[in-house]
Amino acid sequence: MRFSNESCAGWRWALVAAAVVVFGGAGERLASAGITAVELSLDSVQSFAGSDGVLLRFEGTVLGAPLVQIDYPLHFLVFEQATGRYVRFDMSSGGVSGVAPQLLDGASASESLGLLYEGNALVGCEVVFVGEGRVDVQIPKGVLSGPLEAYAFALYEGDALMSNQVAVEATP
């Protein structure tokens, strides 16, 4: 999709399939091509502590309007920088927690796919908000601590389409 100085943005088809562009870098498929691809990129991830739970706010290109239509296989993964303890939030089915030290040197698509079969169901996770440019989820308090990292990935044709990885900003 090309944009110009004109006011129109166009009638844009977001056809996922072959539009996924393969970028280099450790052989990972990054979901950040043009609008004809599944675009996943995080501008920021913030955490807010409440008395019972922690709100995690993912902002960036996180599918947006299509999440209104379909139960897309989109996952948000937050892990402790020190230990690899993580919470993987599956938008379809809720939260799972576990420990994955392999994430500490940077998450890969294959590692993310492997986590689909690991971890324990985490009660008390829920979707709080879904909208263009933002997804909020709530997880129980005390599951994760210390500095955190986060990324998102979407499943497509057996592969994991990864976002960039960002540090979680703890908000007072």
Binding site: F3, R12, V16, A17, G34, A37, G53, V68, V128, G133
Partner: protein, 477 residues
């Protein structure tokens, strides 16, 4: 058992008639006006004049009121089955307006629809009282992407888009936002129609449920290997009535990405579509006036409607009266139907990044804490609910103030009308960082409302503008 027999009969009749007058049966026929630039059927919104980009694009469009779009595509909602032959009335005239519920992840109650190619037949032309919407066409939509989109009547005036028909010239900011789709998806045409169900992102609580219009667009014509790899038809594009004239140039739509042909067996491929305006109509323009205004009472022949409730209560949000000087026509859908303090229907801004106005530096800025669903709509509350507010940094809760602490407050919200609050910037505090939060906690639910110092630009809008400029510079899609 009855329906298939009727369907077979209908198709048989269609077949016979189309043999009799092949050139006059179909979505596009010899009666369609021709675009002199392309030599093929002109792409015109039904009931509106011919519009095309001028030498400087959409800044100086070419508008020819002598060419008016006819009925090519029709959307119908709430039908028990697709029409076999004659296209039925819109749902308001059938007293069958469907009801949807807004929830994300496909969990809401969707609006079922059918998109039908409409044809006037020489034996029964449009205008004949018993076939005012035309007859179902044969196969032009088969295997084509059909984009279906919804637009919400945010202000409840019965129209979509900027209009003077409501007698209100001061609500342009709200009506501009009505041109932003509140649900959109791609479907594949089969057996002459495209049918499915569309989820809607914008709903309202009891007393403020918006009516939405469903519209559609598609490319017709053959798939040619030399045209975008045979993934999309060569066109032209056809539409139902829309609240604007859309951009239809495939090079501007598809961009540089690879696109696969329609594949109805892969639902994830049908991720989405985004239809936006090329020409933004001004109802004061004498060349077309209100031709792009969608009417929601059933009198608009090509579109249909549904009423939408908000989803289940999921927390609390911050609502404000819209600022008429602000622009709300963005994809983050800031404006939502609501009920005011006296129970009257109104529209609130439920911004994710709420930039305070200047009055917050002095006497305080009025806002309301309202119950919301998971899509950010004002929601009904199952019962009065207690909530605790907590303000960070320079943000203060000036009212209510039961405890003398401007950083915290406890409230009870009775219903969708919410509770009035007054927010202020602490005059003694530093303005940095310019982003603070109002945290609302209730029965284990936590919501964080981002509050921006007066004058701080909306980061969502800034990001969108920056992305578009970057793409324009790089020439990449």
């Amino acid at each position: 058992m009855k329906r298939p027999r009727l369907h077979a009969l209908g198709l048989a009749v269609l077949g016979a008639l189309s043999v009799a007058a092949a050139s006059d049966y179909g979505v596009l026929t010899g009666r369609d006006p021709i675009d002199p630039a392309t030599g093929r059927a002109a792409e015109i919104v039904p009931g509106a004049p011919f519009v095309a980009k001028g030498p400087n694009g959409w800044k100086d469009p070419v508008i020819d009121p002598s060419l008016v779009g006819d009925l090519d595509l029709v959307v119908r909602t709430g039908l028990a089955a697709p029409p076999a032959f004659a296209i039925p009335k819109p749902s308001p005239l059938r007293h069958a307006v469907p009801h949807a519920v807004a929830e994300p992840l496909g969990a809401g109650t969707k609006v079922s629809f059918v998109v039908i190619g409409s044809s006037a037949h020489p034996f029964w032309p449009l205008g004949v009282f018993f076939l005012p919407y035309g007859v179902r066409t044969a196969d032009e939509l088969d295997g084509r992407h059909v984009a279906v989109m919804a637009f919400a009547d945010l202000d409840g005036d019965g129209y979509i888009g900027v209009t003077h028909l409501d007698g209100n010239l001061a609500d342009e900011a709200i009506e501009e936002a009505e041109r932003e789709p509140v649900g959109q998806h791609v479907f594949i045409g089969q057996t002459a129609i495209a049918e499915g169900a569309l989820a809607i992102a914008v709903g309202g609580p009891t007393g403020a449920r918006p009516r939405i219009a469903l519209a559609a667009a598609a490319y017709l014509g053959p798939f040619l290997p030399e045209f975008h790899g045979g993934a999309i038809p060569v066109g032209p594009a056809v539409f139902t009535h829309l609240p604007f004239h859309p951009e239809t140039d495939p090079d501007r739509i598809i961009g540089g990405g690879l696109v696969e042909p329609p594949d109805p067996t892969n639902p994830l491929m049908l991720l989405g579509v985004h239809v936006r305006e090329g020409l933004k109509p001004d109802p004061g323009d004498p060349r077309y006036g209100e031709a792009f205004t969608l009417r929601l009472d059933g009198s608009d022949p090509s579109i249909d409607v549904a009423d939408v409730s908000s989803g289940a209560f999921a927390g609390f949000g911050l609502a404000r009266t819209p600022d008429p000087s602000w622009r709300y026509d963005t994809e983050d859908l800031k404006l939502r139907p609501a009920v005011g303090p006296s129970g009257e229907r109104t529209v609130y801004e439920l911004a994710r990044h709420a930039a305070l106005h200047a009055e917050s530096l002095g006497s305080g800025e009025a806002a309301r804490i309202v119950p919301v669903d998971r899509l950010g709509n004002v929601a009904d509350l199952p019962a009065p609910t207690a909530a605790t507010l907590r303000a960070t940094g320079w943000l203060q809760i000036l009212a209510p103030d039961a405890d003398g602490d401007p950083s915290r407050e406890s409230i009870v919200v009775d219903d969708a009308r919410g509770v009035a609050i007054l927010l202020r910037v602490d005059p003694a505090a530093s303005a940095n960082p310019t982003r603070q939060h109002l945290l609302v906690e209730s029965a284990g639910r936590l919501n964080a409302i981002e509050i921006l110092y007066p004058g701080t630009p909306d980061p969502y809008r800034s990001n969108v503008v920056a992305r578009k400029r970057s793409e324009a510079r790089s020439g990449t899609p």
